[in-house]
Symmetry: C2
Subunit: 233 residues, 2 copies
DNA sequence: CGGGAGATTGAATCTGGTCAAATGCCGTGG
DNA sequence: CCACGGCATTTGACCAGATTCAATCTCCCG
């Protein structure tokens, strides 16, 4: 995975530090929880393969997906200090994670400040993506929301080399999309259908294809900046 | 400010490192920009006094306030890597900031890993607050949104000792609230009015008073966890 | 006293939500 | 091979929470 051009190289020392920080791996089946909501996890994770997502639910069951997780994403910092009020994380496809002990995070910072810096960088990147999602949920209409989400996910997957012949694995159902965008299931369906009828994208059997990237980008007023190489913990 | 019980103490060494990292202070008038949207700032900031907020706008002018900034908040990490696609930051009251050189951030991590850890902690905390805002914009209705926001801001201000006789300085107008919640100005006004008529809060002449905290908390399904002491950079 | 910004209100309209039912797709069991 | 059950997707009809439009009203300030 480190050979992927999307990630920054690390030194021998750093790699050793990461290895000793890691305590194992874990594989989660689609629909299963990696982190149960409201239960603080004593571990941190890096997604290695597959798709997952972070979410929160209100007490009456309304769910909001906070963001989608792709390989390389570092998970769990957010509840570093949140007692009980944590997010949940669930696998959308089969997903494997690298597992770290939260308690040893400080040791890692101490031993390898560069890795600490990388983790901060990842946290800042996560915050940036949340910013975009918040603009979407707060100020975009249904069509714009869907367009933004499709392009966002497509660009990220593309950067990781997950696109084959124009198609990306897309293991989400319409309920996931609705919960990510703050729309109802029915309205999400109608909007998706409308954009597809306009020939902007195709979504079938768990695969996504973008047909008119520029149209979707301007519809969603969302232009993914050139994606830099990202540190991998 | 460091004597404020909301903040964690720092060692002599750390304090020296912070001092040398700092390059000055800056004061911004209400309504003025600290960071202009789309312009990457070569500096990082810590808000010292006053209220500010972070926001993004769509190309047709629709604005989304991403979060509100109170003393102690660390600003600017988010665009560590975002070329051109940055947020804006504007002062709501007169606000003073501590200024740091972004380029020297790595030096700080290197010299004082503990401070690097603190910065990561602050970033994670920021992400957590964004999570809550995203749930609000995506899944709460108007009444719930307003209730959540009022309690959120009140609790944070309270923690910083900014409440006097039950009143907090509240330098935001209804447009700010609307933009933070993803509502229209008119609907925000009506909702605010309705909650006030129910006797839940009072908002006048730039001051906020919470009359029924428990009612607002359950209405918004939002219960601020006990706020820990926070590192201050 | 006139001007301007923010707050309020009422009315009309519309986007998106809710309800209900149909359709399509699989995997299982007879 | 086919019927049945469960889940996701679609669709149509209707409803309502929010937006938009258009005035007013209230202060505050020069």
């Amino acid at each position: 995975m480190r050979s992927n051009a999307a990630f920054l190289p690390v030194s021998e020392d750093e790699l050793r530090a990461i290895e000793s920080f890691r305590v194992g791996t874990r594989t989660v089946a689609p629909g299963e929880a990696l982190i149960v909501e409201h239960v603080r996890s004593p571990q941190l994770f890096t997604l290695y393969a597959g798709w997952a997502f972070r979410f929160k639910t209100l007490s009456d069951g309304r769910r909001q997906i906070l963001n989608f997780l792709l390989p390389g994403d570092f998970i769990g910092l957010q509840d570093e200090f949140a007692e009980g009020q944590t997010h949940g994380v669930e696998a959308a496809s089969e997903a494997t994670f690298c597992v770290f002990e939260r308690d040893r995070l400080w040791d890692l910072f101490h031993a390898q400040p560069k890795l600490g810096y990388d983790i901060t960088w990842l946290a800042a990147r996560g915050e940036k993506m949340l910013d975009d999602n918040l603009v979407t949920a707060g100020r975009r209409n249904a069509g714009e929301r869907v367009a933004m989400l499709l392009m966002h996910l497509y660009r990220r997957a593309e950067r990781l080399g997950m696109v084959r012949d124009g198609w990306v694995d897309f293991p989400f159902n319409q309920q996931h999309i609705a919960d990510a965008l703050g729309l109802s299931l029915v309205h999400t369906n109608k909007t998706l259908r409308r954009l597809q009828a306009m020939g902007l994208h195709k979504l079938e059997a768990g695969w996504l294809r973008i047909l008119e990237p520029h149209v979707l980008e301007s519809l969603g007023d969302y232009f993914e900046r050139p994606l830099r190489r990202v540190p991998l913990i």
